[in-house]
Symmetry: C2
Subunit: 338 residues, 2 copies
């Protein structure tokens, strides 16, 4: 090899290497690569700098860095139906198999018919019987095993994937980003606390003790060999939705979050409570406005109305007046799923 | 100075230095310097090694290292009366000042009389009225301010010190030791969750979200300027004593502790639940058998009977059969307070 050829090779290698490094550099500099540049991404990064830079006038000590995330519609897909409701409906056949006397009793009869239109018209108090039969009456360990087994096999009808894969990539980036800056990330969900705890650690990196959700009581007793166990009771302790979210946060965390993420009217009070605290605060709402890549529903912003994850015009107005940031899935997110 | 004198000085300095270093070395090697050598101290150190040494067959991943501590009588003095009950009784005068119509109504009339014998005979349902009047009805922030102010001024009648100084030095060492080995330390107390959270971080290094206690509901509303706040409701959500302790642990933590510390029959179920789990577990009970340095009460081990922190012969028997370790304050602790 002559000298000039060797130099050429060396310099091309240098160019390739420099290019590779700058790409790595970019990725390392950008904690939110699935977010388009814009108001939402800027608000997130500004908030983290303002609360974690020791030079910042609004610096927050590490122990007080608490970030609250609604789950359904904020961290993962909630349409056409909340995953936990799908679970409860699909658990009805094995429950009826164990208790055949339920087969001809409503609402179990309708659920067993498998007719989606009939199931959709079940009144709330009848649906509550399905929830009670599938979420209570068993031991805590038994329930966890049942949910684990279901999650392994169940598939979302549109994407043919396990439900735990239907998480929003940009929000997983937010969770990781916040944690890398010393925030403790909490789920604060209207869903069942015990249900979400089964998969939250694997799916979101959020351990059981950082899941706040709708919670029932348990009952302590002993099996025949004298070993203690807890049975899930139908008694409701905390309805962790609407005003129940700040109440649940007080009960389970005991401090006001610095930042909260939601997507529906059920998150309004959590965002109010979070952003009413002293110092730097942030409230964000995910707007489902991308029917192609996910779903579109509101009814705010002229999107179709829904009963699952409603984002009303009034919530949109409150967001504006409170300075909460609305995240447009269509415009703010490069990537949504997978 | 002649050579021999200089050499002598040098060698004395070396001896002093070596002595000092060996003392530092000893202290650094001993995470529990206020514990006498014996079965209790050995059980603690063996447990920590067995669960945190990566080479151990019973190694526990860091996320699952959860340690539960009862508070009254386990971490701090509970005699002659639980500190929170003292608080409630001493809050009665300002409460009656704000609501003068209570002055001639029982049980407030008796509490205002200041007669300890009469107060001691108040039936449980009357005492509950005192607790409700002093622990509920105000905002969460107002309650915290009231407890803070009281803790600053109140003094224990025997030691003339603030109550938050009446913690057991050997147990503070256990908290620090466990945390240094990756355990998350939780208080699991029959006392009020909101009450203990006011001082737990400063007193024990335990943040609000790691305090599990008897908890009432709160109610979300808005003040005249539209700012949201939470009011403490008299509705009981969790009675965190006896079977309520494992139930509270499931509600608030969602995992079974690896190690639990208590001192009375109210801690029985927590220790059962903790030590019934798979893998290496540890249950420990503090026995108050040192009337000179603290208090002596049982009635197990022939100590005088008590209604505050009862340690019954049946609990002593269960400890023996379950392999729980009884800590003798008299024999196991070099130092108790301050």
């Amino acid at each position: 090899m002559d000298v000039s050829r060797r130099d050429l090779l060396k310099s091309s290698a240098a160019v390739v290497l420099a290019g590779a490094l700058s790409r790595v550099g970019l990725a390392a500099d950008d904690p939110l690569p699935s977010w388009n540049e814009g108001r939402a991404k800027r608000a997130l990064i500004d908030f983290v700098h303002a609360t974690t830079d020791p030079q910042s006038a609004t610096f927050v000590p590490q122990g007080e860095r608490i970030a609250a995330f609604d789950q359904d519609g904020t961290l993962w897909v909630e349409h056409p139906m909340y995953t936990q409701v799908v679970y409860c409906l699909q658990r009805v056949p094995p429950v009826v198999k164990a208790k055949p006397e339920l087969a001809n009793v409503e609402p179990f009869k309708t659920v067993l018919s498998g007719d989606p239109a009939a199931i959709a018209t079940l009144p709330r108090n009848e649906l509550a019987k399905v929830l009670a039969a599938t979420l209570t009456g068993m031991s805590v360990d038994q329930f966890e095993a049942e949910v684990q087994a279901w999650l392994k096999d169940a598939r979302d009808p549109r994407w043919k994937r396990p439900y735990t894969q239907l998480t929003y990539v940009p929000m997983i980036e937010v969770l990781n980003y916040m944690r890398s800056k010393g925030f403790r990330t909490y789920i604060v969900t209207g869903g069942g606390q015990d249900f979400v705890r089964v998969y939250a650690d694997k799916t979101y990196g959020i351990p059981p003790e950082q899941v706040v959700g709708t919670a029932g009581g348990t009952r302590y007793s002993y099996d025949r060999s004298g070993r203690p166990f807890l049975t899930k009771d139908p008694k409701l302790l905390l309805n962790d939705d609407n005003a129940g979210k700040p109440e649940g946060i007080h009960l389970m965390i005991g401090r006001r979050p610095r930042v909260a993420f939601g997507n529906s009217v059920g998150d309004r009070q959590m965002l109010e409570y979070t952003t009413a605290g002293a110092g730097k605060r942030l409230g964000m709402l995910v707007l489902h406005d991308d029917a192609d890549r996910e779903y579109a529903y509101g009814p705010a912003e002229g999107l179709p109305d829904t009963k699952v994850g409603t984002f009303t015009p009034a919530l949109f107005e409150e967001a504006k007046s409170q300075g909460w940031i609305v995240i447009s899935m269509k415009n703010d997110w490069k990537r949504i799923l997978f």
